[in-house]
Each structure stands twice: as C-alpha cells, then as structure tokens.
Subunit: 478 residues, 2 copies
C-alpha cells in the first residue's frame, strides 16, 4: 500500500470532468503533497493507499472548490450602502468611498474572504488598487487559499466625492504607468512552480485608462506573457465616457486597438450588444459574469448565454459586497440560472449544472488555470470542498432514478451546508472553524473599526442627497 497524505472515501463525488458534472458513485480521491494522485470508486482505490488522514465522506457531496474570478475586497466596508438606486457607482457609492483609506480596516476585507471561503470559494480573483492588493496578497497567502491577483491599473489618481453622469474623468498617465510597473513586479514576485498565487495584468477599463496607456499596457502584457483582467462595457456610464472621448462604444474601440484576443478576460459586458458579445467570444477572449452585483446595481442580466453560445468560456465573480451584497458562489450560481430564466422567459435556459461548471471547470478555463484547478482529476491541485447532504436544504438526496444533488446545491443551499474546504490538500475550514486565522478576532476588529469609521467621518450631506438610494434608506426606514 502506498503511503499518502489523504484519502477521501465513500463520497458522492462530482469531479466536473468531461462535458457534464463527472459523477462517481461511492467516489474516492487520493491526495498527496497537495495534488490529486488518483480518482475512482472506493472499491477500486481504498485498498491501494495507506493515508495519514482518512476522510469518511458518506452523505457528503464532494466537488472541486469554487472559483470567484472577480472580487473587489477593497470595498468591503460598504456593504448595504446606497442600495436600490440608479447611478450606483458615481452617485451612490462614491460619496462614501471617497472617505475610505485603503488601510483603514483591512479586517473588513479579510472577513469578506472568510465569508467566501466558508461557502466553498478556494480561488480568489482579487482585483484591487495596488496598496490594497499588497495587503491582500499577504493575507490570502497566509490563509492558504489560491489567488489570482490583479492590480487596478487606471488613470484615476485622485477622485472627487461625486461625478456628473456625463463628466469626463481626468486621467493621469504617470499614475497609470506607476501602477502598471507595480503590477508587473507582482507578477514576477509570484511566478514560480506550484505557486498558489497567480497574477494577471489589471487594466481597469477602456474609459479609465488613456488610449496611449491602454496601448502601453497591451504591449507589456504581450512582452511578459500576462493575461489581462479588465472591465469591459460595464454599463451606460462607461459607454457615455467612450462615446464622448472617442465617438465609439467600448468593444469596437478595443477591437480597433487590438485588445480582443485570448489574452483578455472581459469582466461584465453589461452594456454589450449581442453582436459585440459574439465578437469578443469569437476572438478567444473569456468573460467574467457577476450576476449578483450587476443585478442589484444595474437591474441587468449580462449576455453570458450569448457569450457561451458563441463558444466563449464564462467564469463567475462576486464583485463586491458594496453592490452584490455578498461574496459566495452558490449565490452567483443561483442568480445566474434564475436571471437567465427570467430574462428569456424560459425555465429550461441556463440549467443548474451549467452554472456549476461556470463556478468550477469552465471558470478555470476562463481564468486560464484549468491545467491546475477546476475539476477533481489526477495531477490537479487538491482544492476540494465537502457539502453536508443531511441538512434540510439538500434533502431528500435522490440517487435513483436520477440525481438531484446539483439542482439542490444551486437552488436550495445557502452556503452553510459546506462543512470542509481544502486547498492544496490542506483543510482551511471545517464545521464553522477556520484553521489558519483567528476569525473572532478579525470579526471584532471589523466591528469596532467600522463603527468608528461611520461615526467619525465628516459626511458631506449635500452630496449624499444626490443619491436616491441614500435618501430612501433614510426616509423609508423611519
């Protein structure tokens, strides 16, 4: 018998191999030195291995960890701010974000990450201003999760408290250049075999970087062979800027300057037409879909179904708790399935299993890490999650004449059914306990610092009054 670190036996195993969900009845997974070394049935494999840790997974659904391809933890202090409002970004959030210093309360961001981890997220596509990113790279690494970082490379050196909806942003190329350099440095810092930290180039958006610097960024991406993590066609706000600055919408503009290729991971596509969506997909770019945040902030279901129909790969992202308002992939899967059904008026559109693929193997393909994560297959990293099936939201558990695990996970589960989360074979969360950080301490720090922040900030009520969301929350809650 071969000595190994961990053997998982008797699982309801969903490997996500192949074209569906890759089910293995009475499944078994052998893990050694952070990698999956064998996958099969318990009958086939149990006798072959002598593990240090034997995990009995009876009545557990076992899956690859979820991938959150796009998360801004730097806005974690703003959950529930300016909800149900138009012009969410410029009129709703900006008057508050203006006062947020990046290092004021890192615990807010840490707690958002723990919220996600406890709900099964193992890969974090953190997309943040460089100072915040430097904080998060350390935390994510210490926590033990996988991360796919990108610095927000933009020309917004200073921001005002509020903007007119058609007011052109001032862009500072020197600032862009400085952040670009830091993003590239970060890339080389973490570029090593078996690194849990991957770095992409975070070109912010077509309207927040000057055309000259967009070209410089793309050149750098080619030179260093980096993939680009970029907001594209984020909404009417961006389209207004693009039309005013260049007389072109975002996607035709990006096409003209050579951005539409397999290097690009395009986030949102909220305001993309069907034709533009198909163009982006046909050029080999991937898409990140943030159903939760775009639904709340814009009332829109982005064209992910069209993107997939055109052959593109789509990952899911929780975006930020200031707009979403939560960071968990079960929520993203459910809303993705449901908003599409509502959008197309057809309950058979975007079935549960397709959204589960977007949170796992298709997501891994979209972020370019499918060689190491996204499915439970021999040779891949052991990023594995366990879901308790003896819990009201997952019952009954039907195995014959068909299975109901996947629709129940996507449509019924809340996140608390997840009982164990493993990254690189190491258990980071189990039955409510985080093994690598002091959760209660962080939660308490977040509580105290956030109370202080909201009490002490000298709010500018003249500007706050411009947000319908703010006014509503003040008035209607009386």
């Amino acid at each position: 018998m071969k000595k190994i670190d961990t053997l998982i036996v008797h699982a309801d195993l969903f490997t996500m191999r192949g074209e569906g969900v890759g089910y293995v009845e009475d499944g078994c997974v052998a893990v050694d030195r952070g990698r999956i070394i064998e996958v099969g049935t318990t009958a086939e494999l149990a006798g072959e291995y002598d593990p240090i840790e034997l995990i009995h997974a009876e009545n557990k659904m076992v899956l690859p960890g979820f991938i959150d391809a796009h998360i801004h933890t730097s806005m974690s202090m703003l959950r529930g701010v300016a909800q149900d409002t138009k012009d969410w970004m410029l009129k709703g959030v900006q008057p508050i974000r203006y006062y947020l210093k990046q290092d004021y309360c890192p615990e807010a961001s840490y707690i958002n990450v723990l919220e996600a981890l406890a709900s099964g997220t193992t890969t974090f596509g953190e997309y943040a201003p460089i100072d915040h990113l430097n904080l998060m790279e350390v935390f994510l690494d210490k926590l033990g999760v996988r991360s796919n970082l990108a610095a927000v490379v933009y020309g917004w050196n200073t921001l005002k408290k509020s903007y007119g909806v058609d007011e052109l942003f001032e862009l500072d190329d020197n600032y862009t250049r400085d952040v670009l350099r830091k993003n590239i440095d970060l890339f080389y810092k973490w570029k090593k075999p078996d690194s849990r930290t991957n770095v992409m180039l975070g070109v912010h958006a077509p309207d927040t970087v000057s055309k000259e610097m967009l070209l410089v960024c793309h050149e750098a991406a080619v030179k260093h062979d980096m993939r680009i993590h970029m907001h594209v066609a984020q909404g009417d706000r961006e389209t207004v800027q693009m039309l005013k600055r260049y007389g072109k919408r975002s996607i035709p503009f990006l096409d003209e300057i050579g951005y539409l290729d397999s290097r690009l991971m395009a986030v949102h596509l909220t305001d993309a037409t069907e034709e533009e969506t198909r163009l982006v997909a046909s050029r080999g770019a991937s898409m990140v879909l943030c159903s939760g945040s775009i639904g709340i902030c814009d009332g829109i279901m982005p064209p992910a179904a069209v993107f997939q129909d055109a052959g593109g790969k789509v990952a899911l992202g929780s975006d930020q708790s200031a707009g979403n308002n939560c960071n968990q992939m079960i929520n993203e899967m459910k809303l993705t399935a449901m908003y599409n059904k509502i959008k197309y008026g057809d309950p058979s559109v975007m079935p549960a299993w397709k959204t589960l693929r977007m949170a796992t193997i298709e997501g891994a393909q979209a972020i370019g890490l499918d060689k190491s994560i996204g499915s439970i297959e021999k040779g891949k990293c052991a990023d594995i999650i366990f879901i308790d099936l003896v819990t009201p939201t997952m019952m009954p558990v039907i195995k014959k004449p068909f299975r109901n695990h996947v629709p129940n996970l996507v449509y019924s589960a809340r996140g608390s059914e997840i009982c164990r989360v493993m990254v690189n074979g190491r258990t980071l969360y189990r039955d409510g306990v985080f093994t690598t950080v002091d959760y209660k301490y962080l939660l308490n720090e977040f509580k105290e610092k956030s109370e202080q922040f909201f009490e002490e900030t000298p709010w500018d009520f003249d500007i706050l009054k411009e947000s319908t969301g703010w006014l509503m929350q003040q008035k209607e809650q009386l």
Copy 2:
C-alpha cells in the same frame, strides 16, 4: 414595576409600523401572556417592568416574524425533482408525485417547516390535500407556530401519471363537495379567541373545480364568512384549460361568477395581463407572490409591482420545495426585489424595504391577519425574530448617516443569521436548537424514508422520458 413574562432591551428594532420599517433605536419590547404590551426605547421602558426573562438584544436586529402565505409541504419529498424543465407540473413533477402517498413520510414536511422556522418564518400558510392538512395542523400546533391553513378543494379525485398539455382534467364534484365540507369543519374546529390556527377556504383553482362547484364554494365562503385561498392564472397550463372549457381566461371568468372581491386571496397571477392584474386589485382582493417557485418553474416574474401600483396588498409565499427549491422568506424577499429589477431593467424598482413589508405587515394585511400579526405593536401577538448582526453577511452595521440593516438582510443574509424565533412570546428556536421538537430524529426519519421511497418505487421510465428536466439530470450529470 410591573411583573411581565419577557422584556427585550437594547434592540436595533424594526417594528414595521407606519409606512416604512418603523425603526426604533435602542429599542425595547415588553411581552406578557403572548402579547406585546408596550414598545419604545430601552431608556423609556426598562425601568417600568420586572420581567421573568430579560433578553439582551445588543447587536441584534429585531423584527416581526415572517409570514409565508402559501406553502405546500405535501410536496417536500420532491426537492430538486425535474428542474430546469418546461411543463414542470404535468411532465416534470407529476410522474413522481403520482407514487407519493400522503402519509408516506410526514417527516419530509416537518423538516421543510423547520427549515422555514429557523429562517424566521412564524406564520405558515399551509395549503394541502385534506389528509395531509390534518397531519400538518397537529404538527404546526405542537411546534408552536402560527398557521393559516386551507384544504385543497378540487375535483381531482384521481390523477394520472402524466397529462397532455391541452388535455382537459376530469373533475369529480362529489369529491370536491366532500373536501369542501372537511375544510369548513376545520374552520370551526379552530375558530376560537386567540387561536394560533386560522383556516381559509382553499378553492384550488378556476380550472380544477367545476363551475358549479366554484359557485357552491363561494356561497359557502359567504355563508361562513371565510376568506378564499385560491390559485389564479397560475400559468399557460391553466389558461389552456380555461379557454378550452369556457372560452374565457381565468380572471374574466372569475369576475363573471363573482369571485373578485375582498374575500379572495389570489395566488400567483403568473399569466395575468396587466389589465387583469389591475382588475383583481381594484376589487379589493389580495395577492400572494411566489417569486422563487414561479421563477424556477416558469421563468416568469409575476405582476406584483402592478398589483401594488393598483392599490393591492401582496404577501410572499415559498410555495413548495419541489419547485422553489427552498422554504425561507429571506430568499423570497431577495428574489422578489431582484427579479423585478431584472424585469424592468431598473435597479430602483422594488427596493429591499418594500419586500420586507411584504414578508411582514403587508403580508399580514394580504392574508387578513394584520390585527394580530405583521408588526411589533402594542396589542399584537409577540411573534418576534432576532437577527445576529455580528456576522459577515450583516457587517458593517451602519447606523449613521443612514442604516443598512434592511438591504443587508434582504440582499446578503442567508437565513443562518437568525438566532431566535418567538411565537406568542414563546421561543421556538434559538441558536440552532428547536425547543419543541426532536430535530435530529425527524431529520433521520426523513433521510431513511426518502431513500426507501426512491429506491423502491417502480418508476415508469416511458413517462419519465417525456420530461426534459429528468433526461437532462440523467445525462448531463454523467
């Protein structure tokens, strides 16, 4: 100092009084013999009372219990069955439901109720076949919750394994008459002062009861002064039956036979036109909206916003776990807000606080029990829930310059933040523990009986094959 049963102090209190959410800072609620006897601030009231139980509600959001106006627990064995399919009811669920005996596994239904209770539901609008209802009336009473029962009064004496989409149902008036009588008996059984159990007349739908019996039912409702709980314009399936049988759509037909009045609680309105919706509201009927189930089963957001715009009151319902797939009102509030934003393409439509009113005070008005429940006000029943605010999904907690409790509850919470649920002043659930039933025993019975059911039933695969949802789950999960 007045001796009382319970005093709740230092709460972030949302009474739901008035036109908004009725916030009281550092709130205090005095409870005695199941009733709320005083509401105010802790400073005003704490010195006045000498309670047996003093509940410290620091860092807790305190609200009236949620009202689930429409729940079919008789389908609790079918969670996750035939998902993502067209013709969900006739082709998807019916081939399985056909084999379900009402008393096969009552624990399935009990667990659904506990799932809801732990998520803050205190009033259950159970709508079930009479045999199942007789089972549930006992369980709900023993559990200690409030219920608003209705027997399913219909002409479906026997059901086939599957139906053609335009096949007229056979209706048995004798069967309808028999159930009607039992429904009325139940009404008188529970009609007493301070009863936790209320009974409505459950006329099933315009297409499942003959016209003659519809008239008999309405006469009975008037004679006994009962309100009517009825599916109306449930979808294209019903419209097909109505056009074929009467040459009229459901709502014009019901108008003609005198059903549209303040006695009627119309469930779904999935297939109602805007004009029909306004007609129902203008006649003083109320509406029950089941966003979760109608979204999954039909891909439709029913016209609740139009109904409210026409002056009607709307309650929320979780319907059944076979279609929804969960029974919790936070889910219903969130989906109601979000589907409306997606439907109208506007993030300011259906704000969080409006959906919270639908789950509480507006829901109580819609089911006709607003004199006793729906808000925390002097004289009402003490159905009160507590939400832990020191938890990632509810943080930060902002009190100035505005409050974010309500958007965070609706958009971010998952249900597990609810730490105490009280009905008539009695704590039925606290920190994961049910005080009146043996949860683990029931869960285990559900597990064993459901495994047995799905293994032993002689499935008719020729009929199952007609459901696209079934085939997909069999094929794609390979």
